[in-house]
Symmetry: C2
Subunit: 178 residues, 2 copies
Amino acid sequence: MADSIKRRGRVLVHTGDGRGKSTSAFGVILRMLGRKKRVALIQFLKHEGGQWGEVRALQQLGLEPIKTGDGFTWTSKDLDETQARALHGWARAQQVIASDDYDLVVLDEFTYLLDFGWLDTAEAIAWFQAHKPPRLHLLITGRNAPKELIDYADTVTEMVKVKHAFDAGIKARAGIEF
Amino acid sequence: MADSIKRRGRVLVHTGDGRGKSTSAFGVILRMLGRKKRVALIQFLKHEGGQWGEVRALQQLGLEPIKTGDGFTWTSKDLDETQARALHGWARAQQVIASDDYDLVVLDEFTYLLDFGWLDTAEAIAWFQAHKPPRLHLLITGRNAPKELIDYADTVTEMVKVKHAFDAGIKARAGIEF
């Protein structure tokens, strides 16, 4: 195995309908920051109030997330604006990745752009293949990761919901659920 | 639904053979610390050098993990000592949980004690039911979570390995893999 293969950055995908896709990404970020690595976090389609706790803790560690969403929710009626903001986020992500200023770039909830057809999966992968610095680790989260993305990734984990307190009608608790 | 049910602490389990069980727990810890919640992390059966990055970042945030392992690995020959240390860790965990000094207690890699038969699952659950402060969130990670633990938990996520870079023979990278 060539050394260039051993040393190249990983492409990691966290998908599935269970909890822990983004949360696990925050754990990876924590690990990288603890090792003094340079991390960029780009958050797609997140409600502004979401992930308040994680973001505050990351800010304490010196990381300011890049937000691109518009408070998107599943009941959002203005998909055009949401789509426009998401694609703006993709352009921002491309700048960040191509800059080669980071050891890890996290595209949180990025799969929605692909799943909704706002961004062509083959086009996105071709862009990564052409422009991702070889040593950069790329971590993508979100439901319904397309097969082409799974084929492209080195490591894919599916978070499967076995049982969830919401199903039992228990109210969400700040800190644990959001 | 009674208010006491709504406000009670959650029991969360991260299990499965995929990546992200502990990493996701670190994300939950990050979220709780960001919300100024009191967190205890008890690490069972971990190699001393493992999770170095996460631990360093958590220390920056003011959390000192409690370690109980002895550098256990799958090739360990001295199971008696490992078992003894693990059970010492369980006694420590019981103190921490019963103290009511925390909002979240994480028992990282705790399922191994149950899976290996070092601690009886029904006995552990009976202890939680009798001694866990009602508002305390308890998060347990590890492979092969027993069915009784899954029945007891509010939220269970199984991390499923879809694809892993190790399978392709790529060398582990500090920060991403450990």
